[in-house]
């Protein structure tokens, strides 16, 4: 694929689309393209953030997943009530591996599931009384919780409960923030709207809490890490680099984050955004209301880390810039050793990615540092601006796909035959059965962290042990192997 031009990819897309009825084919064709780096704006070549076609298997989530699972869930010292039937919260409980420090059930609640467990009578008579009671019970059982959020599931919007009124009443009673989040699952086309709703809820109910309170001593080097969910410890691996540079990380959003960190974010000097998709709304708001500039950064792979550290340092004075160079120099021998070890084992391998958020573009640099090539990438729930950024990261004539269906993904993988696929748990076993090595790139396949220089070493090791695992030579039954058959 490396030497191919756009035509083979276009032909491949046509071939994949052939099975669809006319209308579906026309619709899906807009979501698939061969990358062309000369295009400035992605909307000229790819359509995104549209409703998925009925009847196809998509891997998208819902607004509740975007709010409870992604943005609010990792805030460790608040209790997030999955308000509605029990399943939504239970089946997603602790699945995202947002690591945190604290005593679960005492002062942190990240891996616990709180739900209002709606029954028929709650749907018929309304669940507000039950919610009121739950918040009271939470306060009795977990007095060290710093606040409560009410994460609506679908029925709440359908029956028209007034969770805002309950939240206001309970907040007054408890003297703690009680945040109603209108993230009913049916809203929007994917989890992306859930991110937006959650961002707006933080904006409306939390951000202004410490306006006019100057008791927090600030320094000129205060920053906030925005959009790092500490999956497998990612945010910690990022944080140490920033702290070594001499910056003070005031808040982590929201992996291993706490309510007070979020409330203190308006006091920082610069917001550093890792996951642009899920938290750009808040960064824009913080810029407008408090004049805090924001920049995006990428902590996957040494090339991008060095680039990002320099760009972050450029926003500060000379000492930070000198420190940034020292940090890069300090880790040079470490990452060079990693590359020296794994590059010969991984060089030239082809990777297909299909993830969400930031990873389809951010990890490209890390693969390239290991001599690998990303031949296809795409997002589950991206918008135009994500593809704008992706076009520049990806090579020409590589495959770009948006809201890929299970069928399309299988056919693309079968035709391209990459050496590695990075996607989620739902895809993992399909591709392993097809004989293609697979890594989960949502949860780092229960490994991690992958951010920062420390993470890069783990990333390289994981990719190597997946691709070069001896099991991939054992997929054919022994008696069917050509060499064995000839011997017998």
């Amino acid at each position: 694929m490396a030497a191919s031009t756009r035509e083979p990819i276009q032909d491949l897309i046509q071939e994949v689309l052939e099975v669809y009825p006319d209308k579906a084919r026309k619709d899906r064709a807009k979501h698939l393209t061969a990358n062309d780096q000369s295009i400035e704006q992605s909307k000229q070549c790819i359509t995104s953030n549209r409703k998925s076609l009925p009847g196809v298997m998509t891997v998208r989530g819902c607004a509740y997943a975007g709010s409870k699972g992604v943005v609010w869930g990792p805030i460790k010292d608040m209790i997030h009530i999955s308000h509605g039937p029990v399943g939504c919260g239970q089946y997603s409980r602790a699945g995202r591996r947002n690591y945190y420090v604290g005593m679960t059930g005492v002062n942190t609640f990240g891996t616990m599931n709180f739900t209002s467990d709606f029954q028929e009578k709650d749907i018929v008579f309304g669940g507000d009384k039950k919610l009121d009671k739950i918040v009271t019970e939470i306060e009795q059982l977990f007095p060290l919780s710093k606040g409560v959020t009410i994460q609506s599931e679908c029925p709440i919007g359908l029956i028209g409960d007034d969770i805002e009124a309950v939240a206001k009443k309970k907040a007054k009673e408890l003297g703690k923030p009680v945040v109603p989040v209108r993230c009913e699952g049916f809203r929007g086309v994917s989890q992306s709207l859930g991110h937006h709703i959650a961002n707006d809820a933080i904006r409306d109910w939390v951000i202004g809490n410490r306006d006019g309170d100057d008791s927090f001593a600030t320094t000129p080097y205060d920053v906030a890490i925005i959009g790092d969910y500490n999956i497998g410890g990612d945010a910690w691996a990022s944080r140490i680099l920033l702290e070594e540079m001499g910056l003070r990380v005031v808040a982590q959003w929201s992996g291993d984050g706490s309510l007070s960190e979020i409330e203190l974010t308006p006091k920082v000097k610069l917001n550093l955004i890792h996951c642009y998709r899920s938290m750009n709304y808040l960064s824009r708001h913080l810029e407008e209301k408090y004049g805090i500039p924001w920049i995006e950064y990428n902590f996957f792979g040494p090339t991008k880390i060095a680039e990002s550290l320099r760009r972050i340092a450029a926003c500060f004075d000379e000492t930070i810039r000198v420190n940034a160079e020292q940090v890069i120099a300090k880790y040079r021998s470490q990452y060079e050793a990693v590359i020296e070890k794994y590059l010969p084992r991984l060089e030239g391998k082809k990777v297909m990615l299909y993830v969400g958020g930031l990873r389809p573009r951010h990890v490209v640099g890390a693969y390239e540092d290991l001599g690998m090539e990303v031949v296809g990438t795409g997002y589950e729930f991206a918008h135009n601006d994500d593809y704008d950024r992706t076009i520049k990261e990806m090579g020409n004539a590589t495959l770009l796909y948006d809201d890929l269906t299970a069928y399309e993904f299988e056919v693309f993988a079968d035709k391209i035959r990459p050496d590695l696929i990075g996607s989620g748990i739902k895809e993992k076993y399909i591709f392993q059965k097809m004989g293609i090595p697979f890594r989960q790139m949502h949860s780092w396949d229960y490994s991690g962290p992958y951010h920062g220089y420390d993470g890069f070493a783990i990333f390289a090791r994981d990719m190597d042990m997946t691709i070069n695992n001896p099991c991939w030579q054992e997929l054919q039954a022994p008696w069917l192997r050509a060499d064995k058959a000839a011997g017998a």
Binding site: N49, H196, Y281, R284, E287, E288, H383, N384, D385
Partner: protein
């Protein structure tokens, strides 16, 4: 009448951002752009036009304003 956030990008151009519409374009022309007022018909890089009654005094960017579709 969408809410539009106007901000300055790294290159110093004004960006016209409508979150609900996934629209983020640079502003190419502003009808009224003086020290005391800003607004009127605003033209974007994609050719679309938007209108706002001129804001007095000239606002500090970034700011969220309500625009109408221009013609």
């Amino acid at each position: 009448m969408p809410n539009v956030m106007i901000r300055t990008n790294d290159a110093g151009d004004l960006l016209f951002y409508v979150a609900k519409k996934d629209l983020e374009e640079t502003v190419t022309a502003v009808e009224v752009d003086t020290k005391s007022a800003w607004g009127g018909t605003v033209e974007l890089a994609d050719g679309s036009k938007w209108y706002i009654d001129p804001v007095h005094p000239r606002p500090e960017f970034p700011i969220t304003l309500r625009f109408r579709r221009g013609d």
